[in-house]
Every structure is written in structure tokens, then in C-alpha cells.
Amino acid sequence: MEQIIFYILVSGILIFSVLTVTSRRILRAAVFLLFMLLCSAGLFFMLDFYFLAAVQLTVYAGGIIVLIIFSIMLTSQVNEKLEAAGVKKSSFSLIAAAAGAVVCIYSILNYSFPAVSNGETDSSMKNIGMQLLSYKDNGYVLPFEVISILLLASMVGAIIIAKRDSAK
């Protein structure tokens, strides 16, 4: 049962990622990307990492994809088709993709995957919250704060850019 769901999700990820790259209509590519992200959220659900799965849904599927679709809606038209990539472009990207795949497969094959007991990977909401704000060993309070400063800076930047436009 688990395996059947796993293969459905994995084939979904593979098919939709290929479609995302090959589709010549840009909004369709965005939609295929959405499905790909939904399938990978499904994988996280299978692994019992509910928090990560929900973050995947809310940040990627609900946030980034909506942002991408918004920007496409404002810039392109329904019937616009991207021109097919030339030989030079596609061969370069093929080499890059193959190199990435080789590195990934090589490292996966060489990693021994030690068994982890359930207690060590306590992914409950409470534990995640505690870890995020903990300043002891394995605490994440510093990255958490750094990221919040980065977010604040980008929000201020966005507001300033938006204001300058309206002043003209």
C-alpha cells in the first residue's frame, strides 16, 4: 500500500518536472511546477514529517507559485508561446543536469544511511518550536533571527520601491 502511493508520487514528480521544463507555454509550466511541489509535499507526508509537508504546501504551493502566476499574468498573454530552446542552450543545460545527477547519485550510493531511532527525529510541532527558539546545543535561534532580519529588510525594500512608483 505504502509502496504503491510512493510510486504514484514519485512518478508524478518525475513526469511533472519534465513537463515543467519542456512546456512552451509559461503558465502551464508554472502549473506543472505546482503539481510537482504538491507531489513532493505528499512524500513528506508519507515520511510523517507533517510540519515540513505543510511548510512545503504553504510556502511553495500557496506562496511562490501564486507569486509566479501573478507575475506571468501581468506580463504575458494567453496565446504567447516561448520559442524552443536552441541546440547550444539545450546541450549546455543537458550537461549541467547530467553533472548534477551524477553528483547526487554518487553521493547517495556512497552514503551508508545509518538507522535513526524514532526518538532522535522527534518532528512534533512542539519540538520544532522549541528547537527554533533554543539557544542551547542544536538550537536554531541564531539562523531564525538572521532570517527574520533578512525578511524585514526585504519587506522594507519592497515598500520603498512601491512608494517611489506612486510618488511620480
Binding site: V31, A61, M73, V78, M125
Partner: protein
Amino acid sequence: MNFSIYDFTEFIRSIHFWLTGIFSPALADVIGLAIIGVCFLLFVTLLGLSLVYIERKVAAFFQQRLGPMRVGFWGTAQTVADIIKLIFKEPLVTKNSDKFLFNLAAFIVLIAPFMVIGAVPFAKGLHALDFDIGLFYITAVSSIGVTGILLAGWSSNNKYSLIGAMRSGAQIVSYELSVVLSLLTIVVLTGSLRLSEIIASQSDGWWIFKGNIPAIIAFIIFIVASTAESNRGPFDLAEAESELTAGFHTEYSGIRFAFFFLAEYVNFFIIAAVGATVFFGGWMPLHIGNIEFFNNAMDVIPPVIWFFGKVAALLFLIMWFKWTFPRLRIDQLLTLEWKYLLPISIVNILLMSLVALNGWHL
């Protein structure tokens, strides 16, 4: 089979045992999933049909009309007749539109409500998905729905649809913040996102009564923001009939139009259900502290009735808004969210933390 209207845990377990007794474990799982799926499909269909009827009746009574009266007793079969008509209608597609996305959009808007409704606790034990992250899951999944609306507006190749989709996209994305923050205000008190624990924490009184002033502020923000998030009146600018014909679903007809309608009403129900669960204790009967005789008297009413009663009350409240307030302008709408609701809810969550730390709540 021991069936009890007060606690469904045993009943569900006995169905599970019965299935595993007949079939192999894997097959029993599949059949169990299929049964749950069919139950939810039936529930959602009935919900859509009855909510449309109720909405039309409520609207009519607010305007001193009778509403649908001809089909069936007091027009009760009107929505059934409507849906039969919609099924037989031709699904039109506009010229030069992206047909693939056009058809897909109608299904994407339905994905989110179907994924969320599984996490709604209907009664004790009658709860399909009880995640550790329950409330977060609900807010995460319901953010997918906006994609369908944007796609529908864009692929229709119609300027009114596009404007409607842009408006509703901006509206949903911004009001989502206030909804989540107002729900988090109560999570400060419950200390858990699991819906069953949120309900259990209200066994000696609902949070709206126990949570002091911040809980009431949070509830007001929740009801305003979630009305806006579901694109309902007075925030229904996305489909402002007089300006944009019907907004993002202008070009849809037949059964695909019905999908948009269904998604809207299921979302409507989900908002009321989440509000009832977080602020009014879900299926938990009205309990006041440790007053035994009162609590026991309230326990006589089954949890299912409590849940649907609370949901119905909230649904009526939101319908009341729709037929009372005039529609806002788009700038007023965005001002309300970004300049008022969002700052208030951020301050409110701090206030609630203060209340929780000092133990000022009951």
C-alpha cells in the same frame, strides 16, 4: 456493532475490524479509504445543495421576499433542479483561450476544500485526519485554492475575468494573514495545533468566553478576514456583478461553473467549521467550569448537533453580513486589511501572550 451518537470512536473501530476480518489488510485499507472518500463526496454534494438553498432563502427573507417556492415543499428541490440543469448544459470554451488550463482551473479550486474537509472534526471520533499540525495543515492547504482562481481568470482570455482574478488573488493573499494570526491568538492558549487537543482544551468552557478580551478581538478579526478570504459579500468585489459581470468565472458554464460554486460554498462551510472549532469548542457541548448538573444536562445533546448548530449559527452570521453591508471598493478593502486588521491582530497576539503568561484567562 456498538453505535453511539455521543462517541464515534468505537463505531469507526468496529467498521475497521469488520473490514479487516473479511479482506486482507491492504485491501481493507483501500476499501476503508474508498468508503471515507465516498462519504466526503456525498457530504460535500449535499452541503453544496443545501447551502445554496439556505443562502437563497436567507437572502430572500432579508429582502422581504419568499425566495424559491415552486419546486418541492417551500422550494426545497430547487437546487436539485438547478444542478440537473447545470449538468446537462454545454460546457463552453472561449476562442483563443488555453483550453487545458481552462478545464484544469475548475478542478484546482475543488482540490483545496476537499483536502481541508478531511481535517474537520465533526464529532468525537468522527475525524478523518487528526494531524499534530492540524490547524497549520488547514491554513496551508486552503492557500492552494487561490491558484485555481488566478488560472481561471487568466485562461478565460477575457478582461473582466482577468481583473476579477487579480482582485480576488490580491484579496485572498492579504486576508489570509489576518485569518492565520487570529487563529494563532487562540493557539497561544491551547498550546497545541492538533484540532482534537484544541477541542479537548475547551471542555470547561469555550475559548471565546475563557480567553478574556483578546479572544473576542481575535474572533471579530477572524470573522471579518475569513469573510473576505472566501470572496463573500460585502467583500465580493472579485465578482462584482455590476462592474465585472461575474469576475473570474464569467466564461464558465455548465458543470464547470457548478464546480466554482461548489468550491465557494464548501470554503464557506470550512470557515464556519474552523471558527466553531477554535473559538466555540467544535463538537464540545457548552460547559461552565465545574458545575456538574449544568454540564451533564448539556452533554445530553449529541456532539454532532452541537457542531452543526454552531456552524449554522456562524454561517447565518456571515450571510447576515452579506445582505446588510454595502460592497467595499478595492482600495478600501486593501486599506482595511493592511492598515487596520493586520496591525490589530499582531498587537492582539502580543496581548494574548501577556494574558496567557500572567494567567488572566480562565
